[in-house]
Symmetry: C2
Amino acid sequence: MKQPGMLEMPVLGLLKGQEMHGYELRKQLSGMLGPFWQVSWGSLYPTLRRLAKAEAVEKVVEPKPKPARRTTKRAVAKAEKTTFEMSPGRRKTVYRITPYGEELFTSMLEETAAAVDAEHFTLKLAFFRYLQPDTRLALLERRRAYLQEKLAQFKTNLRDYRERIDSYTLSLQNHSMAATQSDIEWIDELIREERSVQGGATPTQA
Amino acid sequence: MKQPGMLEMPVLGLLKGQEMHGYELRKQLSGMLGPFWQVSWGSLYPTLRRLAKAEAVEKVVEPKPKPARRTTKRAVAKAEKTTFEMSPGRRKTVYRITPYGEELFTSMLEETAAAVDAEHFTLKLAFFRYLQPDTRLALLERRRAYLQEKLAQFKTNLRDYRERIDSYTLSLQNHSMAATQSDIEWIDELIREERSVQGGATPTQA
DNA sequence: GCGTGATATATCGTTTCGATATATCGAAGC
DNA sequence: GCTTCGATATATCGAAACGATATATCACGC
């Protein structure tokens, strides 16, 4: 994944559920979105730092995981150095979302505008339960329109280039088109379910 | 797309076919890989600069597209400033691959190692015609193994998380799994075709 | 005690991103 | 002829994401 500021939203969304440390956040992200979606450390920790600086999250000081009976002088000396902040190692820096962070998360999730490409959409889908039904529908329909447009572009493209591309590239494009078509059908199913739920209570959650 | 130095290979591959300028390269890239694959300028031009610095490509001085009868003093002054290099505007900086660039391209394309993720694989597929049949097969089988592994991870993941994820996320994962399965079937087809072309002609090495 | 692998935090340099600036050309419209 | 406009074309900027890597702790099996 690659867009600027893409991680902020899902990180806040997860922390909305419960406070967590970095390692756990990464695991949850993969658990939610599947094994293809791997967040790199070089991406996650700077994001947490940015969020902390913006006061959207705050660090929670964890109680020492082990009293660690310190008997030797070396251990005492080491402990003294470690006592307040700093020093790497097993520290479990836990992050908690702030009220401002909750606001930020909601506004990020709601702006349906250009959240149309695969990754943005996928990310938002994972937090659909926090959205109003009509916003959900709007998002789904926008995504559908986007995919349909891409499908049309595939066709135009193939019409113009077919003779100039080799069999491997042709096979690739055909497969990509089929995948896009399959995506559309999946979205259609989601739209259908969404509509059938509208008019009753709030959608299922589990 | 996102890996470091991912653009180098396809750019060289296209220039191997014929010399081109930046704008054309971008169009060709989209034409080959489909409308989802959009290369940004901020990515393409630095890549060309890197390749030029490494002497893998060279700039070809284009004949002035218009002689532009320079009559006024102002025009002459401007021409003087423009004569050699520099000044923006319609210049059509054409790039040509060097012998070293050809070597580089081949070695980049051949190293089957970690070229297993979607984008790397897709990119290589578009230049499969430059590879030996056995290298092609190796690449296809590696990609297949990778997808199969991801499929297994999906299943493990769902077994462990199913109760904790909501209906939208579940639907997403199911769709992603189906897409992965479809990818595998496509790869299988490519493998089958590859093998049938190889026939019994080439005995599998020694 | 000793190694190994999972947990955990963090940064480094490079690359990619979207946005934007600048300029030229051809065709359309006046 | 003049001007506007959209396509062509090159280029850079700051922010963000990348893979790789360093460091450290803990749980375990041996």
